[in-house]
């Protein structure tokens, strides 16, 4: 049995229903991603006990916690909006949920945790004087101090700027690796999820759309929604390329090659060739160019190492790279 097992969990609102089953192994770092309103935070709130499910069961380490009080679940949570206690300094915030009773030992643990999150010497500081990044590190230390069985992080970096986000997400992953704590991390940022997680759960309209490693989801998306949510790409009607095929064919921009001259299809039997594509946009990306093309009125997104000199180009893609998705 998995460490965290969620079966047929249901929560109904007037215009939204969450309906999901999932399992998380001990020590796993699971990222939950999905667009706004897909039910990510609701799922976390129900696991933590902040909201009650209408149906289903939640089992943690073999114990059914579906109807347990929040305090008894042993679940730590890091909130998006820096939910530190403003009336307490950093140390007292961290000590709040500590199970250790001995005062000297508590101080020791606090100092260790502050070191772990990179805030050594911050103990006496007022939490109101902390920057956003520092506040999130204190939240992390505070949650860990309560020795949770599992740690939930609800978009903890969304209120921070880009360099700070990278910094903290590295710290979160380092803490996970050093303590081996099971973590569920909610984010809407796919780059964040790719860089930090062991596995990813993609949610859509209150349901699990896909589950797998970052590489899996990127390379073999099970649906058009997953494909577009996990990266950029082009979807064309399948019948445009293959007779009697329904749905869409999808490819990633880096899977396409650009040629400025006309290509003879008989020489490239392993490829599909789109001739006479008009260049609509050309965006410099640092490592190359992202080209926006138009093929018979259909938009195509392709990557190129060089900037095309002509207005019209040909695009070739290996047939094996074309995925038939619905």
């Amino acid at each position: 049995m998995a460490y965290l097992e969620i079966r047929n969990l249901k929560k109904e609102y007037r215009d939204f229903t969450l309906s999901i089953s999932l399992s998380v192994d001990e020590g796993e770092f699971l990222c939950v991603i999905g667009p706004s309103g897909s039910g990510k935070s609701t799922l976390l709130s129900i696991i933590a006990g902040l909201e009650e499910a209408d149906g289903g069961t939640i089992t943690l380490a073999g114990h059914d916690i579906t109807h347990s009080r929040i305090q008894e679940r042993g679940i730590g949570m890091v909130f998006q909006d820096f939910a530190l206690f403003p009336s307490m300094n950093v140390s007292r915030n961290i000590e709040f949920g500590m199970k250790e009773k001995d005062k000297a030992r508590r101080k020791e643990i606090t100092a260790d945790l502050l070191r772990l999150v990179g805030l050594e010497g911050y103990g006496k500081r007022s939490v109101n004087s902390l920057s956003g990044g520092e506040a999130q590190r204190v939240q992390l230390a505070r949650a860990i101090a309560s020795e949770p069985r599992i740690l939930l992080l609800d978009e903890p970096l969304s209120a921070l700027d880009a360099p700070m986000r990278k910094n903290i997400r590295n710290a979160v992953r380092a803490i996970h690796d050093s303590l081996g704590i099971t973590m569920i991390y909610v984010t809407h940022d796919r780059e964040e999820a790719f860089s930090i997680s062991d596995s990813i759960l993609l949610m859509k309209d209150g349901q699990a759309e896909a589950r797998g490693s970052a590489e899996d989801l990127y390379r073999n998306p099970p649906s058009l929604f997953s494909a577009f949510f996990t990266g950029e790409g082009t979807a064309l009607p399948a019948h445009l390329i293959f007779e009697n095929m329904e749905g869409s064919v999808f490819f990633r921009p880096e899977e396409a090659a650009i040629a400025e001259e006309e290509l003879d299809p008989s020489l490239y039997t392993m490829h599909v060739i789109f001739s006479g594509c008009e260049v609509i946009s050309c965006e410099f990306m640092g490592t190359g160019y992202m080209l926006g093309l138009s093929y018979r009125g259909y938009p195509l997104l392709c990557q190129s190492a060089t900037k095309p000199r002509r207005r019209t180009v040909s695009v070739m893609i290996l047939r094996t790279c074309l995925r038939n998705l619905q």
Binding site: A48, G49, L50, E51, E52, I70, Q71, I75, G76, M77, F79, D81, A83, L84, F85, P86, S87, M88, F96, G97, K99, N128, Q139, R142, A143, S146, P148
Partner: protein
């Protein structure tokens, strides 16, 4: 969060029950008197043309007072909301202080400063070499209006300034870039957004003046200037017509309820803007303008209050004396209770009321914030509709039903009346604090294993501390200065400072009243300081 309904019932119910009992029992007593003998008294009041003259006068003086106070405050608010200059904060603090100044001190200050033989007339006669009273303000309609404006000008000024500062100036700047003049920008952009703030201030002042009591009783000077509140008092204590007083109370209650409902419909709460106005630094001519504005405000607000301090130590002829202070320790004032007893009694009642209002009000405020944003505040505001004289009358009926008479019972009844009057203000002061506590803070405490009690004690209450302190100070100040219900309920057994001051004004012992007034003023200042600066802010406001 799970269990919200249980939380609300556990938290709000005891407080609401106490409030309802303390409010409904005296009200029921009043109704029973009003409906006695097949509601003869009530029918009489409804048919009596005098009742409608009272209504007309009450409405006229309230409307006029509110209009003048708001109109006078507008130019000052316009300036204070736009410019920063030295002394601005001090003047704003002085205006906020007026919320804790008891009405009876305004009455006393007016008598001493504007009286026919008051300090202002003495100064005018001396400097203009006249041998007759030059300014006859007191005991007239204009005295009532002037005192109401005096008391409410700072209220209007603060409320409108605050509303104005909450409006970012981007829309006005956009109007200027489109070629609008200052006047056009004000009329078409600023004023429509400020309308809610102005209306709130107007309604608040109107309702306050509608239930005004001691100002009308003393500064009006004769029964021609009677409002519902003063007439109820006269019926109880002068005509000894309890049924008539009860019937008039019921009639006044209905009128107030209609007015409050209309006021509630008229004012819609607007969402706060995300950005506040940035104050511009006053320079050159604007500094001169600021000095003139501050001087005008100080010249209007300070003399009546300062004259109380002066008169506590100087005779009418200007000779220094401590006689009134000696009298405070003994029975020199010729009252049933000594002034010292009055001070002790006032202090004890105010302390008890303040503590109880926090214990009861805090639970109601927390429950209002967490589960019932409309119903609980509405229930806890009910006593405001009744008016303090009506409540005092109800408690005097209960007092008459109690066979045993003692100082303690009188004290408890006065404290109970004060508690009902004070509780809505206490709840209103704490509710925004309870609402400002992010739900996440409590949830975070729960996820860290804290029980509901620990989460409240350690995470929520420290954040509420500034609001609790302010509510305690406000409740203490309101109880300390309460005169309407106390005077109506008073059976002569116990006296509070405001009642003693009222009696001394009535017997023309202004020096004694000023000495007691000085003590009351000092207490009000200390309470204000404790409420505003007495502890650290935990940063949720």
């Amino acid at each position: 969060m799970p269990g919200n309904r249980g939380y609300c019932i556990r938290h709000a119910l005891p407080g609401i029950a106490v409030l309802t009992i303390l409010f409904l029992i005296p009200l029921a007593a009043t109704f029973s008197y009003a409906f006695r003998d097949e509601a003869k008294a009530l029918i009489g009041i409804i048919r009596d043309g005098y009742t409608y003259r009272l209504l007309s006068f009450t409405l006229t003086q309230s409307l006029l007072s509110a209009l003048i106070a708001v109109a006078a405050a507008l130019p000052f608010a316009a300036f204070f909301a736009r410019y920063s200059f030295p002394g601005r904060k001090a003047v704003m603090t002085l205006s906020a202080l007026s919320f804790t100044i008891p009405t009876i001190l305004v009455v006393l200050g007016f008598v001493i400063w504007y009286g026919n033989n008051g300090i202002l007339n003495t100064l005018l006669m001396k400097f203009l070499h006249r041998d007759y009273t030059m300014l006859r303000v007191l005991y007239s309609f204009k005295a009532i209006i002037l005192a109401h404006v005096y008391l409410n000008f700072p209220v209007a000024f603060l409320l409108i300034t605050e509303a104005w500062m909450g409006l970012p100036d981007t829309a006005e700047n956009a109007a200027y870039t489109l070629g609008a003049s200052r006047m056009k920008a004000f009329l078409s952009v600023t004023l429509p957004r400020l309308r809610g703030g102005i209306a709130s201030a107007f309604i608040l002042i109107f309702l306050f003046c509608f239930s005004s009591f001691s100002i009308i009783l003393v500064l009006g000077g004769n029964p021609a200037y009677s409002t519902f509140e003063t007439e109820i008092y006269r019926k109880v204590h002068i005509s000894v017509d309890r049924e008539g007083a009860a019937a008039l109370s019921v009639f006044a209650l209905c009128v107030t309820a209609i007015l409050m409902a209309a006021a509630g419909l008229g004012v819609r709460q607007k969402r706060a803007e995300r950005h506040r106005r940035t104050l511009r630094k006053a320079e050159g001519g604007k500094i001169a303008e600021a000095i003139i504005m501050m001087l005008l405000m100080l010249l209007f607000l300070l003399p009546p209050i300062l004259s109380i301090l002066y008169r506590a130590f100087f005779t009418k002829d200007g000779a220094f004396t401590l006689r009134a202070w000696d009298d405070i320790a003994g029975k020199g004032f010729g009252m049933a209770s000594t002034a010292l007893e009055g001070i002790m009694c006032s202090f004890a009642i105010a302390a008890a009321v303040s503590i109880l209002s926090i214990i009861i009000g805090l639970r109601i405020a927390e429950a209002s914030a967490k589960c019932s944003p409309r119903l609980l505040p509405a229930i806890s505001s009910l006593p405001m509709a009744a008016g303090s004289v009506t409540l005092g009358l109800g408690f005097s009926f209960i007092s008459a039903l109690i066979p045993v008479k003692s100082d303690l019972i009188s004290c408890i009844l006065v404290a109970a009346a004060h508690l009902v009057i004070v509780l809505p203000f206490s709840v209103r002061t704490m509710t925004p604090g309870a609402r400002a506590i992010p739900e996440r803070i409590t949830q975070a405490a729960y996820t860290l294993g804290a029980s509901a009690g620990k989460a409240r004690r350690k995470a929520e209450l420290p954040l509420l501390a500034p609001y609790i302190r302010k509510a305690a100070a406000f409740s203490f100040a309101l109880s300390l200065g309460e005169v309407n219900a106390t005077l109506t309920l008073s059976d002569g057994r116990i006296s509070t400072i405001p009642v003693l001051i009222y009696r001394m004004i009535s017997s023309y012992n202004y020096q004694g009243a000023a000495a007691l007034g000085t003590i009351l003023l000092a207490m009000a200042l200390i309470i204000f300081a404790i409420g505003e600066y007495g502890g650290k802010d935990n940063g949720i406001s």
